[in-house]
Symmetry: C2
């Protein structure tokens, strides 16, 4: 599993004459960088960059952010999904999410996933599968978020919440999770990217392969 | 369409005795806020919050971020997906994305989507469908990202790139887009959340409804 943003060429992508497979965007030369503020959950940095299209120099902010991890944990007896509910400071309201968090320095993503599941929910699981990873926002975040599937989860321990957490634990069936994503009730992008690797999240009547009911290749 | 993070109760969510549907996380009282640095693409703010579980006060950073929009645009003749390739400052490398960007102050999300498609790619489309929205990261971003489907896209105008952009335009079939997401070549979380509303992105052999090949409800 290697889901880090690929900085090399993408030779396999595209098809047909308009796929752009022979034309990659030029890298932006970086002439320097200066440290910005430290926000604990990320540090800011200002890169001195040159637009290869125009030659113009400009500073752009990058948030140096630890990698993250989240987990679709299925209960052993019912295969329901373990969810966490918490008040989120960005949105200023409650969310429904799957367990997850920051990977500690030097920590293996799988061990971080197992730790976050245990600390946030008290569940432990015996079967773990990588679901790959995504870039939460390559425009200004330098990190990736690893997704895992954990099966046969059982409630084995007490939550270990840190001072900045107040988390309720519940479970959802897969069908209810799909409905909650389609309705917008589950809205966290990184929960949805994890779910998309194991559940069909298509909206009713929206399928870009089809035209007028005909299946396209 | 109202995809903003819901700050109200979630009465419909959950099923069964462990669903937590009667227990919502408590809001965190906010005792104050102070302005932080302005990064142009977002402003930072420090909220003075109280953990309702412990009563402990703590400051937490929120990035006040304009809402975003992105577009799955399908070409009129082949229904291929219009993609943009650019060097991203956060990841420090090239990405494959769908067109999108920031919604201007007071701008309607649909108009922003039409503008971003036109400016970044030169394509215009005549059929627009809302695919809802997601919260890019409710932990520290206060914004939402609106997703749209645009059909019958034709290359009608020249790109209008701003000084901070250098964007290549290409197209991908739906099948190639799914393969690129599953392989990690397309890794931007908000591209994947948009795609998940119109394409089945499940990984081979991963389906959380199934156990040992049997379909679960």
């Amino acid at each position: 599993m290697s889901g880090a943003p690929d900085t090399g060429p993408h030779p396999e992508t595209g098809s047909g004459p308009n796929s752009g497979q022979d034309s990659l965007p030029k890298p932006w030369p970086r002439h320097g960088a200066r440290e910005g503020a430290n926000y604990r959950i990320f540090r800011s940095r200002w890169d001195d960059l040159e637009n290869p299209r125009t030659g113009q120099r400009m500073e752009r902010v990058v948030l140096e952010t630890p990698d993250w991890v989240n987990v679709i944990a299925l209960t052993r007896d019912t295969r329901e999904i373990v969810i966490v509910r918490q008040h989120r400071f960005g949105s200023g309201g409650p969310t429904i999410e799957i367990p997850g968090g920051m990977i500690d320095a030097g920590e293996d993503p799988l061990l971080a996933a197992q730790r976050e599941l245990r600390e946030e929910t008290g569940y432990v699981a015996d079967t773990w599968t990588s679901l790959g990873s995504v870039a939460p926002n390559p425009a200004f975040l330098d990190n990736v978020c690893y997704h895992f599937l954990a099966e046969n989860a059982v409630l084995d321990e007490a939550q270990e919440l840190d001072a900045g957490e107040d988390i309720l634990v519940a479970t959802l069936t897969a069908a209810d999770a799909v409905a909650a994503i389609q309705s917008g009730e589950i809205s966290h992008a990184l929960v949805i990217t994890a779910m998309s690797r194991a559940l069909d999240l298509r909206l009713p009547n929206v399928d870009i392969r089809r035209v007028d009911g005909r299946e396209r290749p």
